[in-house]
Subunit: 290 residues, 2 copies
């Protein structure tokens, strides 16, 4: 089969799963080959890859597996770790490897989880992200890869990512061409933002929406906030409203489902995908169909 | 002794605890009389009261206890619960009682925790806050009480408060005079906000900062996010930077310490206050002294 990477088809209710992408974090126990097989058998159009599963077999082999299955790679996750004061070179080297891997895998989008706070100086940590983004952007641009800045929920500001809102990600992206630095719209992280509609519109107008990722916010939260994500429909997020904003912003790319959830991880991967398809069709897709 | 409510003294390094206020939630096991006694013996200038401890003895008795101890009441916590579609009258009645109690207690500031989402319709829940604020504001204004809108951390948007940023609180406050609707600057809830400096400046310029509340963000978080607050210095918040912004915004009121933390609750109240004083003097006060 030929590569279908970067072919973004219009959303279509008659072919609802062409734009649906399984992120390998959702079926965490599966190897890359198993996840690709599961996604392809389920009729999905794409897969989002985490580097741990890519590294197990190497990017070349991973790319061949995906290509042979006829899937797109909607994104590679993740670059980042840009906030530490001391290991600048290590971080830059690792990100360049991630950029190379993204190119090998045939995806344009490298999701960037930029890192938390090494100390109490939040502004300084954020400034380091700006600096290191400037050091990475030329390398990414030469290889046709977009650094997709992911705002993480503010509860992860200290330990995982000092980018906390879509507005902030857009400000950080602004110095660069839209094809070099983008932003991730992940419902779990930004659904609460009172200014979200305007931010999604701005991201779309700038051509910077790298990925639309969906999962739900469970209420009450789980004891580990990292695992408090749920299948669409199991929490409080209104995918119709946010989906309309994403649609109105012009996004026509894949929709990735990335769920960190101990119960889902313990379940059967094929059943998880079937539930995901049903929820996507019922709750997410209608708002995205023009 | 005469009431010293609403006398806001300048911050003073030589009399460092005149503007320090013990919120009764910090010494959760203490009755109101015990907390007042503890605060007064420790030389604090004020106390922040939760309604549960006021209700146990009634507002008149509570007011007398505080007055006799020579303390100010920096705020009453809390009104709110404005987001439910069905119990509008109950909520309004309860808030009017809270306004009356605030007036009896001699504080101007009634902290409003507006409530979470009864369903998936976030915008509708926020609109109900606007509507019910309009219904409460005249009653508050007549009694000289300010409704102090508290943005809660976005991780509480679903279950506790649909006001998630200071910017949003200011927008909600905007239709009302500054003496009728204000905002709470609580470090735990808003420290992560990339736009915080401008928002604090705006709140100050509008004369709307009802309260500056300090406690730290623990990293890693505790299993119950509600209890993930820590004593200043035990987490990641930079009180110097935020304190300078609060100072520059013109705030000269009391500084409340409100910590929900199981370990602190289990400790001896007098020791908690001594630690609080030391951390306040070392980490919080210097930035507030002009």
């Amino acid at each position: 089969m030929t590569s279908v990477a970067a072919q973004h088809l219009p959303f279509d209710l008659d072919d609802p799963y062409r734009s649906l992408s399984l992120n390998t974090a959702t079926t965490k126990r599966w190897t890359l080959a198993e996840a690709v097989d599961g996604a392809a058998r389920a009729g999905l159009g794409a897969i989002g890859l985490w580097r741990d599963r890519v590294d197990e077999i190497g990017a070349d082999t991973a790319a061949k597996i995906v290509r042979d299955a006829g899937l797109r790679v909607s994104s590679l996750c993740r670059g980042g770790f840009l906030t530490q004061p001391d290991d600048r070179q290590t971080a830059l080297d690792d990100n360049r490897r991630a950029i190379d891997d993204a190119a090998t895998l045939g995806t344009q989008e490298l999701v960037m989880v930029v890192g938390g706070m090494p100390d109490r100086k939040l502004a300084a940590a954020r400034a380091r992200v700006d600096e290191r983004l400037a050091q990475l952007a030329p390398y990414a641009a030469e290889r046709g890869i977009r650094l997709a800045l992911e705002p993480l929920h503010p509860m992860f500001c200290a330990d995982r990512a000092v980018i906390s809102t879509l507005a902030q990600a857009l400000t950080m992206a602004q110095p660069y061409p839209a094809e070099t630095v983008g932003v991730v719209v992940d419902t779990f992280h930004i659904w609460w933002d009172p200014a979200l509609e305007a931010q999604i519109a701005e991201a779309g107008a700038a051509g910077r929406i790298s990925s639309y990722q969906v999962c739900d916010w469970l209420n009450p939260m789980t004891a580990d906030p990292l695992l408090s994500r749920g299948m669409m429909g199991d929490g409080v997020i209104d995918f119709t409203t946010i989906g309309r904003w994403v649609r109105a912003a012009g996004y026509r790319g894949d929709v990735e489902v990335e769920i960190f959830n101990a119960d889902i991880w313990a379940g059967d991967g094929r059943e998880v995908i079937e539930t995901m398809k049903q929820r996507y069709r019922d709750l997410v897709l209608p708002a995205l169909v023009g």
